[in-house]
């Protein structure tokens, strides 16, 4: 009797978790679930116009170098950031280095009322090291987002939580603003 109740509870929890996972965490990358909407109010999907964006990637001089790319940019800040981060994660096309030195995935993007963005990435599989790695990852992401959106500050999250620091040099527990010191001059 007890065992049966336990089974039912476990199954219920499993289904709930699966649903939550499908709805909240995978929605960014999955084809949206088709809803049964009356044909008259179904939105006609107008593709966002292509725009030139500036993506920043690290060079061997310890500075971030711009790479220009034409991408379809949505209007809303959160989806716009999503596009930008996916472009960064796809990596540089020139001889520059990747911003994130492991194969990261974007878990979520939130934009708060004060125009502060929170971007949640999967954490590194093993600890990263070096202040340069930390500077390039942090300001590659933060500066790219701030240069191409209306957002005023970016807080980085890893695996859904704040990290005081990534390699032991920078304070990542707070939102960061544009830092042009690490962008290579013209």
């Amino acid at each position: 009797m007890n065992r049966r109740v336990l089974w039912i509870v476990c199954a219920g929890v499993a289904v709930a978790l699966l649903l939550a996972w499908l709805l909240f965490f995978r929605s960014g990358r999955m084809t949206p679930v088709e809803e049964d909407l009356p044909a008259t109010i179904a939105p006609t999907p107008t593709p966002a116009p292509k725009q030139q964006v500036v993506l920043l990637f690290p060079g061997r001089d310890g500075l971030l170098h711009p790479e220009l790319r034409q991408v379809s940019l949505p209007k809303e800040s959160d989806t716009r950031i999503q596009v930008l981060v996916e472009e960064l994660l796809a990596g540089p096309t020139s001889g520059l280095a990747p911003v994130i030195p492991y194969s990261a995935e974007l878990r979520a993007v939130f934009v708060g009322q004060n125009n502060q963005a929170y971007i949640d990435l999967t954490g590194p599989p093993e600890p990263l090291d070096g202040s340069m790695t930390e500077l390039m990852l942090t300001y590659g992401l933060v500066n790219t987002i701030l240069l191409n959106t209306e957002v005023t500050a970016v807080q980085l999250l890893f695996d859904g939580s704040q990290r005081p620091t990534l390699t032991g040099h920078l304070d990542l527990s707070r939102p960061l603003v544009l830092n042009k010191r690490f962008i290579s001059g013209p």
Partner: protein, 477 residues
Amino acid sequence: MRRTVVFILVFAVASVVVCVAQGLPPTLEFRHQGLRIEADTLRDRVEMAPIMSLLGGEMTFSASAGVWALSLGENLIQIAPDRRLILVNGELVEAQDPPMTSPTGVAVTLAFLDRHILATFGFHLETFTGGYSIVPGVRFGDTVSIRPITADFGATTTLVLALSRAVSVSVEEIPEGGLAILFENASPQIDAPTPLRSRRVRSLTAGSGRLDVDLAIDVGLLSWNILTNPDRIVLEFGRVPPTPTPAPVRVVEYSGPAPIVIDPGHGGDDTGAIGAPGQMEKDLTLTIARRLTQALRARGYTVRLTRNSDIERALTDRTALANRLEARLFISLHANSSTISSVRGAETYYMSLDDRASDAAAQSTADLENRASGGSSATGSPLDLILWDMAQSEVLNESSRLALAVQGRLNALLNLRDRGVKQAPFVVLTGATMPAVLVEVGFLSNKAERDRLLSPDHQQRLADAIALGIGDFLGGS
């Protein structure tokens, strides 16, 4: 309110402490320009009518307004019994002790008489046995409250006196040492939220119309300025007269008890960068830190380490230690790592304040200091911020000079690839109250550089180069 209270205190000490404490005798004698009158008193107040006639002024009552008008020459003061607000030449002033209705009209305290009436007419009270003389000249100008802040640098100290309003002052050096700041028509009051902590400025004493600055031995005034927005006096102190002796001899003399704090990066579970199995940044930084300590001690400096074993230490604790020791310098040692294996070379960082988060840091620092001293965070916060900024930008200037000196020696002695001096908001550099730098001695991710970094010879040369850079900075400053 507070100003008035302070004023009353000063006044009482200066002249009428006995009268205020015990009430006045039934009559008081007042003298003015060879004339004398007896004025009746009413507890701690004195009749105004006889004093006005002694001065040759007029005193009239407006029944409709219930207000007494006291006039002398161009000056007009309007007062009403039991009301704190008075009108002085058309301007509202709040008095601490309101006038009282009396048999001949209105009576006021001696403090009120001196502060509001005689000062407006251009006189002040002086005591003689049994009475008071009303003599020309305003003794008590308005009080000006002064908030002092000091910042000690390598060879100089900046003292900022934030003023509650604009004043004219002159500065006089006292032959026995120290100096006096003389205020024209103003009584300085020190409003110090935190105790003064400086190697060169020992204490400040506010007196009537002057502020005395006590200085350490051999320290003198280098320059002073009155600045506005906000109103402040900025004084710079240093060794006077400057000794023209070359640096190497002086270095030992200069090294007081204040230590140089060396911070070996990482430690414990935080290994820092890993070059190859067993080659960890935390070990390399500790080895170089110990060698640097020896090199600096050999030059006569006092040195403290933030860790001297393989232990974990919070980043903020490292800076806090340097601040607590009132260190002369803070040097954090690190070795770098990059995903680009060809990247190599040394670089020296100092703090950058140019991201907006630093304002928040300043704000919270100012708030914390305010709360620690029992003050409210609402008062003077913008001023605190400006002063904090000023002190910080001075420290930044010094830090950039230190970074250049250290990086210069690293480049020259080691023939490293010059990666230059940079600024970054690193945690260990945040909030340091002394010149502070973070030195990245090289890249463990570069094969050739890793091999060099692990050789004791190279470690010693790195330590010597950094010690020379520190010597350049301290000797040349």
